[in-house]
Symmetry: C2
Subunit: 416 residues, 2 copies
């Protein structure tokens, strides 16, 4: 099993070695992503699955039941993605489709005969790094894609989503036909690396996820006054960077203190900053700060946003600058299916692995699928919690554990 996982891990990453100092780069709807999806298709066919590409470019590999009359029954599905951020790792996404395929192979070798069909889905364009829009393939499949809003969103080279999609020989106008009826699937699960260390920190071996924390994202524009760094006395400045610094501290400290007084954690990060003019001899006149806030408790996120707005108003008067807070994104968090979560947890525990029940701080394809089908998410550990990074790593042991848990879960899910 480990040999198979290792070999196909490299194949799905279109590489001969997982040691890649520069990481991987398979952006959504790029030739590089398409190449990896083609590898997925070959492996799926190799283990005897029938594969089709849908109208959004998702690849759906299906194990048809041998019992006549149940071909059209709702399928038990598992899936993830193979695209990456720039300089990303080889496990985020890939681990999910790899373990899904490996689980099928294992079930076939064991002579398992499914009653319901089983599917492994490789979604297109999960990462938001190219267009600032995530999970395009799974949005299309679950009917959540807002085609008109997205068509003209450009990447950093000015290529729009529509152009990128059509570059992959997919019709943008027909992309929403990828939507599947509720009756197509009976459930959906995704396996993903945790991208954190809470499972390990809890002394557990895998995570059974209850909910996906979707973000509130703020863009805060601070306008002060540019001036010469040498000729503007300290008492006569409206330095936008000096004005915003206490806010960065405040965001970090407030998230920590809200976490310690709440039932579920909240994280908040000032993650991007742009200075104008960002020149050694000029006092920063304008700062744009990007803030990412996540918790599965939507009220807690809104409380955090309220406290940030309050602090901005206090800092504006204190430093004589203006601070304008724009809410870019305010997505309610997604509850996953409790039944599916318990089945996944049970499957793992039956196999002797210790479970930790937690929420996901990151978004995944499963959050779209959960809008239409009972859905679950399984975490396997990754080294130091590192992801979106060339040193992202999950052990073959943990990939094998993930495969076993999926196989065990599917065995019961596809038996009725």
């Amino acid at each position: 099993m480990k040999d198979w996982l290792e070999k196909h891990l490299k194949e799905l990453n279109v590489t001969t070695s997982m040691e890649r100092p520069e990481g991987f780069c398979r952006l959504g709807y790029s030739e590089e992503e398409w190449q990896a999806i083609e590898v997925f298709v070959s492996i799926a066919e190799e283990i005897g699955l029938k594969v089709r590409r849908d109208e959004a470019g998702n690849a759906i590999a299906r194990w048809e039941t041998e019992e006549k009359g149940t071909e059209d029954s709702p399928a038990a599905a598992v899936g993830s993605h193979v695209d990456t951020v720039k300089g990303g790792g080889g496990y985020d996404g890939v681990a999910g489709v790899l373990c899904g395929l490996a689980a099928i192979k294992k079930l076939k070798e064991e002579g398992f005969v499914p009653v319901s069909p089983i599917e492994v889905i490789c979604f297109a364009s999960e990462e938001s790094s190219r267009f600032g829009v995530s999970t395009i393939g799974s949005k299309a499949m679950s009917g959540l894609l807002n085609k008109d809003d997205l068509a003209d969103v450009p990447d950093e080279d000015g290529i729009t989503i529509r152009q990128a999609v059509e570059g992959m020989r997919i019709s943008w106008d027909a992309i929403d036909q990828a939507e599947r009826p509720e009756t197509a699937l009976k459930s959906f699960i995704e396996l993903h690396i945790e991208q954190g260390t809470r499972v390990e920190d809890a002394g557990a071996e895998f995570g059974a996820v209850t909910a996906v924390a979707c973000p509130i994202r703020l863009k805060i524009m601070i306008k002060g006054q540019m001036g010469h760094t040498g000729t503007t006395p300290m008492g006569n400045r409206k330095d936008a960077l000096v004005a915003v610094s206490p806010l960065i501290t405040f965001i970090s400290e407030t998230a920590a203190s809200l976490t310690s007084s709440s039932e579920v954690p909240i994280v908040a990060t000032a993650s991007t900053i742009e200075l104008k003019p960002n020149v050694m001899t000029v006092i920063p006149g304008i700062v744009e700060l990007g803030v990412d806030i996540r918790s599965v408790d939507d009220d807690l996120k809104r409380e955090m946003e309220r406290l940030i707005r309050q602090k901005c108003s206090q800092l504006s008067s204190e430093f004589g600058v203006t601070m304008e807070v724009n809410t870019l994104v305010d997505n309610p968090s997604i509850q996953l299916d409790d039944g599916v979560r318990k089945k996944l947890q049970h499957a793992g525990e039956t196999l002797g692995y210790k479970a930790f029940v937690l929420e996901s701080g990151a978004g995944h394809d499963v959050m779209n699928m959960a809008a239409k089908w009972p859905s679950g998410l399984l975490f396997i550990p990754c080294k130091n919690g590192l992801s979106h990074h060339p040193e992202e790593f999950a052990s073959l042991e943990d990939l094998e554990m993930g495969t076993e848990i999926i196989a065990h879960y599917l065995k019961s899910e596809a038996s009725i």
Copy 2:
């Protein structure tokens, strides 16, 4: 006089209107700078000066004395530059060469006959915005140009100083031949917009400058740990931006408090910041902060640097990050000639203008000239102290005042 100033102000800015929302862009050793220097040459020739371009591209316009035998006497010189930063204003530099030329015109019209020659010098490449190196032309003239260190310094397009200079049909290898002997000049003065509001704030009309505060510049590299903003608990982070924020506040507050307890002011600015990866979903792993420190009191600058280093070491332990402080520049401040300062002050006061004696927080060509010749610097006010900005503005009244002060000063300086 005002009409002449207004007309030639526009000509030197190669524009038909000073209202330019996008500002001016005449980078050092660019075609745009060269075009403005050519305008300087024509105006100088129009008013009867003999102009030569030296080996560094500086233009030297000379009013030869009519008394035989004094042609080679040391000249009384005045000058500044015509290059700008990107999106700069039309007065920084231009005001100095314009008022210099206007003063000569005035003296000629009054029938003044100089005993010593008079020169108006238009220096090449004063701004540091293209190569990060300032005052290249005046460095060359005063023998301070370190040719070997500079040759390969690139601009943001990768063009080196050597390439840019040679693109202007100047031999890089011969550029140091622009150096002039001490006997070439008897003194040098520069008129410049203040780029601050201390003259106005003091209720005065012009500034007589005692010294030029040269900067200490630091580049501080903070290394924390990247991580997913959604999956890394608050207590488990090494956020480089959170770690550096208290430093930004500290720099601003410490400069203010050192100023209030010292005889001369100090200014310190965290003016540039670069985040890696600067992506909404990733905790900032690396921050690079640029700090500019200026005072005419070099000990005070060094004390500020010491306090910053001390604070960095405290913050490193507190936030579990590394902070590496590199001193990019540590230039001792330049004392200007007290005699020349008094003559300028006297000239202005004789004409009925109120003087304010101050130091310059910004560097100017005069700081290089002061290394070799008795030198002085005259400030005229500029609106709201704004410079390096499209809205930079000095009134025609103040340009006329500057012209009169230079003319009055030159009349006595060139009479012996």
